[in-house]
Symmetry: C2
Subunit: 449 residues, 2 copies
């Protein structure tokens, strides 16, 4: 009988604020970071499970400490029982009554559960010799439904309805998998549009994205209206009328401001507006959506859990639902959200970028197409082209589409050299220049402008 | 010029799980805990500011670490500028862009802000020589509005509307303060109704509560329907028809189950049902409320922030709004919530109990009556009669009403002996019996049943 024998966390941070990669209206200077977890066993098969929570710098140490709280739930446990009933395992991690108080089911503690759940799925898929999306896509509807905690969902989706949805999508699974292997999954790119980039860089990268085969790009907005109108015009002129240009306000606006701002950008035909206001504001998103149609409303990367997604769908607040691989409690909760979206007929276009989010979330979209929604239509996965070199099985995009990952696991594993180089605060990447303050002091001194 | 010179945190835990004080359907074995903060200055006046986040055991160390992340925002800063513009200070703590990612505005990081904000208010009130509620109640409408961050609120409440509300409540402030000093503020008690108590203890404590002058008591429900029906009948028989008996499900139910369960308890005339489902489920609470009237729906102790409270009010989801002193980001955000409740005409009946929550929240209700809602009608503050002995200015209830606190500050300060005794894991209260495992191992081994 094999057991879980190690549960090891690392604080990994990339100094992305030095180049303003990732800058937007709410996050002017992120240092993309991962609270990183490796789960080891005594199975003797050489496999380890990797998972992480994504943060943007300060506080990544606290995120690591929150993951550590989950170790006692897994250390010493029988591997087959943990991996064999991932529904029960998920519930044991999410419903620890004392830890639940720290959310409940939101923020630091919920993201910690995400890291542990995803690490277990990485391990399970490696042991099965399959990339995660294929492991999930060969599970029966009954097995998939057993992964989902329907608590708080049954007024919108019952287990029976979920089963029915999955059964309806069973015919054609094999053909859809073949199509994914041959053609990949459509992507869009956010690389050109970071708020801290110059106009020249914006135009140059937008043209390059189109030349690379992308048919949708995304622009960060929300800091200054005149600035946004100018940048939106430049991009529209650079890419022509056929390319979809989404805008992303990163929660910057109140409801009224959102409507005014989007209307001012409307002449340049934005495809969707993302995070126009607080991710908690279901009714606010619904009000904005009613006022800005035909511009679509998208959100999700900061939606804390399935309960808020449920309401977004019930209230008709979204045209596009954006799952995040590591903010809700991992694979299981994302399956719940994919099922909800399928029930309500809303397309899922995942959030990615960050550290490793492209690597993870492609598995969920591929699984969704293969076994849940069976729809690929207007769906696209976000792509941002940095930090992939730090992963063993990096996301790759060709001709504007993600290629289907083939390596066993959930693609969450960083390279050993990345873990050494970017360990915080003692990795070489964080070594201070002679005479400069230590990195922790520098980081702490940065405040929101 | 005085500066903030120290920012000291302590992990304080009370072994309440040994007696099942605080046990309910979701929290069978809480160890009531405080992630405790003391802010010191070089002003030479002997005053320190005290604040805390309340947790129920495991994870309190992570909560402490999250509070520590805020130290660099305050250490070394000019005291007059920090305390003189508490609106700006609040925003600087909540909108640190990197730390905000960990919520945003929810969970561990937001509770950490609560501890820091409340500690600063404790310090400010001590320096003014006033209990917090009186300090707030002498501020002008303009000063109060400047404390509130209206981001994400303006579709429901604008600064101008808030000003108008506060101005309308200005006449009579002095008389209402006199009434509070003379009569206190009505309380209800949860002491009899913990789920882990025997029927005998439940009946005995319910009768004792009525004898002590309480006109409302509360019963934990939600684990087993037959059990709840029996306990509700016993209590109703023990206290008679005139005493209000509220029930509290602590988020145990889905929407459909909540409606069925409450209808089964309806013959015993429950006054309100508290936390029938997920605190994130605005639409769910609204649906439950429509189905169980005239039983009232109450929630709020786990509502993460003002944005969700705003929607609870917009959706008509609540008959009773329950603020918590230390889950949203402290005094400033609670003022925003009191203003929202006043705008929508919904009574505020605070959550208390826990560690120190009774001590804190009475200040907010007294301030609300004096300067915001000017209404006391059906309003009651929760009271639970344990752990008060650990505070310098403990909550006191006479004849079923909280007495008005008179000591300068926010009543957040624990006694030195409590801080020594209950420091975790090395305080004497946590010393293992000979041969028993160390407390950290014991704590980690407890799982949700």
């Amino acid at each position: 009988m094999a057991r879980i024998t190690s549960f090891t966390t690392t604080d990994v941070r990339f100094p992305t604020s030095r180049t303003l990669d990732g800058s937007d209206a709410m996050n002017p200077d992120p240092d993309y970071s991962a609270a990183y977890l490796v789960i080891g066993t005594d199975a003797g098969d050489g496999h380890t499970g990797h998972g992480f929570a994504f943060t943007i710098g300060r506080g990544n140490d606290v995120q690591v400490a929150a993951i550590d709280l989950l170790g006692p739930h897994l250390l010493g446990r029988d591997l087959d029982s943990v991996l064999g009933d991932m529904g029960a395992t998920w519930r044991s991690l999410v419903h620890d009554s004392q830890l639940r108080w720290l959310g409940p089911e939101k923020g630091v503690m919920h993201m910690a559960v995400s890291a542990a759940v995803n690490a277990l799925w990485d391990l399970k898929a490696k042991r099965a010799g399959l990339p995660l999306w294929r492991l999930l896509a060969r599970m029966s509807p009954e097995e998939l439904v057993a992964l989902v905690d329907f608590r708080y969902l049954t007024d919108a989706l019952t287990p029976e309805e979920a089963l029915e949805l999955l059964r309806r999508a069973e015919p054609g699974r094999a053909q859809r998998i073949d199509r994914l292997l041959a053609e990949g999954y459509p992507a869009y790119t956010t690389t050109p549009g970071w708020l801290g980039y110059s106009d020249d860089k914006l135009v140059r990268l937008s043209r390059a994205a189109v030349a690379d085969g992308f048919t949708q790009i995304k622009l960060k907005v929300g800091a200054d209206l005149d600035h946004d109108v100018r940048r939106m015009r430049l991009v529209r002129e650079a890419v022509g009328p056929e390319i979809r240009v989404a805008v992303d306000a990163n929660q910057r606006w109140d409801v009224g401001t959102a409507v005014e701002w989007i209307n001012a950008l409307a002449p340049f035909d934005p495809w969707w507006v993302e995070e126009p206001t607080s991710p908690d504001d279901v009714l606010g998103h619904a009000a904005i959506r009613r006022s800005v149609a035909p511009v679509k409303v998208a959100t999700g990367e900061h939606v804390p859990n399935r309960v808020v997604f449920k309401q977004m769908l019930q209230a008709g607040a979204l045209d596009v639902l954006q799952i995040d691989a590591a903010r809700v409690a991992g694979v299981n909760e994302n399956i719940a959200i994919l099922l909800l979206a399928a029930k309500f007929g809303v397309p899922v276009c995942p959030h990615a970028g960050g550290v490793g989010l492209c690597e993870l979330v492609r598995h969920l979209s591929l699984f969704d197409y293969a076994a849940v929604s069976a729809d690929i239509g207007d769906r696209v996965i976000e792509y941002v082209d940095h930090l992939h070199e730090n992963f063993l099985d990096p996301a790759t995009v060709r001709g504007g589409s993600y290629t289907a990952p083939l390596m066993p696991g959930f693609s969450a594993q960083m390279t050993d050299s990345a873990l050494r180089e970017f360990a915080y605060p003692h990795g070489p990447a964080w070594a201070p220049a002679p005479g400069a303050p230590a990195p922790s002091a520098t980081a702490a001194a940065k405040e929101h402008p």
